[in-house]
Subunit: 151 residues, 2 copies
């Protein structure tokens, strides 16, 4: 059986199968939201998903977008990326990787796990287990003159 990986050109059937594999009932709205996320392989906020989804023929309400993104995250279909206090991004790439976050533009970019390794994990606090490691490299636009002293 051909396994379906996020990022491929996905048919509607692929998406239904992807949802089914995660025990998610494939409604029209959920299929549409998954399409938007996996077709673009981008980091999208709920608001952006809402806009993109309603660019198409299927109408989806704000509540359903939030509920669905939460469900997808819970089921491990997407990953929440928390870099900005004002909104959550949803990342269709669930493989291990990290992020650049441009604080000026809000752009979020993947960093391949291979090009950024940790020099050993510290001992976890007693009675806890790891739930994932997030590495965020905050970047800003290089403005001529802003690097120099003064201001």
């Amino acid at each position: 059986m051909a396994k379906v990986y996020p990022g491929q050109n996905l048919s509607q059937e692929d998406i239904i199968e992807m949802l089914a594999r995660r025990q998610i009932q494939p409604t029209q709205q959920r299929i549409r939201i998954a399409e938007v996320l996996f077709a673009r392989r981008q980091h999208l906020s709920a608001d952006q998903v809402l806009a993109l989804v309603n660019d198409g023929p299927v109408h989806v309400s704000k509540a359903t977008v939030y509920n669905t993104l939460g469900l997808f995250a819970e089921k491990g279909l997407v990953r929440q990326v928390i870099v900005d206090p004002s909104r959550v991004f949803y990342d269709p790439n669930t493989e291990e990787h990290h992020h650049f976050y441009n604080v000026d533009t809000g752009a979020l970019t993947d960093i391949d796990a291979d090009s950024l390794a940790l020099a050993g994990l510290p001992e976890l606090p007693a009675g806890t287990v790891s739930d994932g490691v997030d590495i965020i490299i905050r970047i800003r636009e290089q403005v001529p003159g802003r690097d120099r002293a003064g201001g």
Copy 2:
């Protein structure tokens, strides 16, 4: 009479000097907020700062707490820690270090920079400069049985 908090060791004069060094006018409220932050050396949310500050003799309004924390962050006196979409934490430790974030309890703990280094930074996107690296190790409570399959 001012309450004495556990771990408090900075005199009011120390704090005034610390503020002056960052070009921050030392008002009563700012001194009080700095006291709360630096006496405990904990990660506190704005809401927690508000509660702790008003536990003492100086009254500080919510707006002033938010304004002051924002000012402190801007002036480099504290650092914002973004690990939870619902609130920002303020970290009085501005030395290079990283964090454990307990997703079950909300507890935020420092990781010494020495015990967790990156094996080389990847190339930054063109036209950008680094603005800092955040490493967050998400942890959860080790619940007997939850580690094994069949949850």
